[in-house]
């Protein structure tokens, strides 16, 4: 792009535009940070003399069982990811390297989930969970997402790029199909697995509507629902504490993102472009 890089006045104008947009983009976040780290008296009083405090975080942490909510989210995210990795790997292998009648039809049926996600089938899935008797459990939050069409599609594309010769060599050495999968395909697909894992973790850490519907107790609520219950109940609308709670619940993900920025961005691109 260097030939068409902006020069002179255009360059200055575009730099200005980019920075105005950038500042606008961080403003709400900076404001939340300001409020969370200062005493309530200073939440709309922007002076350099304002004392820093962690008191809002302490109050938020004590006001609701956030430790339990965090534990629930970690269990949920781990459980969903583990199940997804196994299910998606097996299914993608079948679609990529096996010939069987009805393969294309079944694959099309899998892809239906890309459009009709569990997010919109809340009414019927609630009915199903009630019938299964697992309403208000962490399992019921994760179950609809475990067989992920997106993951199957992504991994199938990756498996298809594995040279047939490697596969055949493994078979000649006496590997069963499952051993071939484990020793040849899975190691070669590592970047795809990392990309998929990051996307899945951030999706399920952030998921809200379905967990809100299906959970009803502290024992199963993830941190997003916990935050909502906390800020919706009457706190006397103390924005300092709500801001602190909001930042606290996003903290682990935000820190992970800041540390592994490049991997995150690369993963989202890899998962998107496919």
């Amino acid at each position: 792009m260097s030939v068409y890089a902006p020069r002179g006045i255009t360059h200055s104008l575009e730099t200005l535009g980019a920075w105005v947009l950038g500042v606008l983009w961080v403003l709400p976040l900076v404001y939340a940070f300001w409020t969370a780290f200062h005493p309530p008296a200073y939440s709309t009083n922007f002076t350099l003399a304002a004392p820093l405090t962690l008191g809002n975080f302490v109050k938020a942490w004590q006001a609701a069982p956030f430790a339990r909510y965090f534990a629930n989210t970690v269990i949920l995210v781990t459980m969903v990811l583990a199940a997804q990795l196994v299910l998606v790997t097996l299914a993608a292998y079948a679609f990529a390297r096996f010939r069987f009648p009805g393969r294309d039809v079944v694959f099309a049926l899998v892809l239906v989930q890309l459009m009709v996600m569990p997010d919109v089938l809340i009414v019927e899935n609630y009915r199903t969970m009630t019938a299964l008797g697992i309403k208000d459990t962490i399992l019921s939050i994760g179950l609809p997402y475990m067989a992920s069409a997106f993951g199957i599609f992504l991994l199938r594309q990756t498996f298809k790029t594995v040279p047939r010769e490697l596969d055949e060599a493994a078979r000649v050495e006496g590997c069963s199909p499952l051993q071939t999968l484990w020793k040849v395909y899975v190691p070669l697909a590592r970047p795809t697995y990392i990309a998929y894992a990051l996307v899945s973790i951030s999706y399920h850490w952030n998921n809200f509507l379905w967990p809100l519907i299906i959970t009803n107790s502290v024992e199963s609520r993830p941190v997003t629902v916990g935050l909502q219950v906390f800020s919706a109940t009457d706190q006397g609308i103390d924005w300092s504490i709500i801001s602190a709670a909001t930042l606290m619940t996003t903290g682990p993900l935000l820190i992970a993102f800041l540390l592994f920025q490049r991997q995150f961005v690369q993963s989202f691109i890899r998962a998107g472009i496919r």
Partner: protein
């Protein structure tokens, strides 16, 4: 391996994923249609077949039409603007601007935050008389305004939140596409004497078409799928001004517990998403054209 054994093997590999998919995607979609023809069981009264009554109620329901039109306006208001901003951000971040590392981070960070946290932050931002927006408008001496509490500004205020959250996400796909473009194209065009804007319009934009399509489909789906911020910020109000379709389904299904009517409403959403799928499928062939 014999052929039958291969079939059997493949099906065994598929079985776990296929079972869960059938149970939580295909079955609910069909059961949803089925239940939309029945009444909601209440107390001693079991569900009974009522044919198209739920759909008749739907046609006569002003809130449903309000939610549908809100959702269309919401899609129209958020999608083009967030895609245009994403493209602009990508071009800027791809160039040699001072501080582009910071800018990329600033644009992308809202993407990793949960929508519910974003909603909390913006709820505070919009708070009348207290939030940062009011501080700024107050500084200029403009009158106070309840952005989320008035009919005319509530939905646009929510649209801004969505654009803020999504533009950075779409940016990275444009950025990836821009970085994979050969620099020879620009060099050749420059030798031919093409201006910067001409090059952008006639070379860059067409080459970004597949990315735009991908981003567009995602944006449309998100416009109908993501209502977390409505739950936090407005609960559909004031007076249904911000009720989106999925939010209305949520209200009917889990506040009024009218599961049959919610099923009929869900069918409308499924038809809309199906239409998106068909459009995407027809455009898929053109997608390969440039690659």
């Amino acid at each position: 391996m014999t052929r039958t054994r291969e079939w059997l093997y493949a099906w065994l590999l598929l079985l776990p994923a296929a079972t869960l998919l059938a149970l939580f995607t295909h079955y609910p979609a069909i059961a949803n249609l089925w239940h939309s023809f029945y009444s909601t069981p209440r107390g001693a009264r079991p569900a009974k077949f009522i044919g198209l009554d739920n759909y008749r109620a739907l046609v006569d329901d002003p809130i449903f039409w309000r939610a549908l039109s809100n959702n269309l306006w919401y899609a129209l208001g958020t999608i083009p603007l967030s895609i245009a901003l994403a493209l602009l951000m990508a071009v800027w971040v791809n160039g040699r601007l001072p501080g582009r590392g910071f800018l990329r981070l600033a644009y992308f960070t809202p993407t990793v935050l949960p929508m519910i946290a974003v909603a909390n932050i913006w709820l505070f931002f919009y708070t009348p008389g207290y939030g940062l927006l009011e501080q700024i408008t107050g500084f200029f001496g403009w009158p106070s305004h309840n952005w989320l509490g008035s009919q005319s500004t509530a939905l646009p205020a929510l649209m801004i939140v969505t654009i803020w959250k999504e533009a950075g996400f779409f940016m990275i796909f444009y950025l990836a596409a821009l970085q994979s473009m050969s620099p020879h194209l620009a060099e050749a065009a420059a030798i031919e004497g093409a201006s910067r804007s001409y090059f952008f319009r006639r070379v860059t934009l067409p080459l970004l078409m597949p990315t735009t399509l991908f981003v567009l489909v995602n944006a449309v789906i998100n416009a109908f799928r993501l209502v977390d911020h409505i739950v936090v910020m407005t609960r559909g109000g004031p007076d249904n001004a911000t009720a989106l379709l999925l939010y209305y389904i949520f209200e009917i299904g889990f506040r009024f517990w009218d599961s049959s009517y919610a099923a009929a409403l869900t069918m409308v959403l499924l038809v809309l998403l199906g239409a998106v799928a068909i459009v995407q499928f027809t455009f898929l062939e053109r997608r390969t054209f440039y690659q």
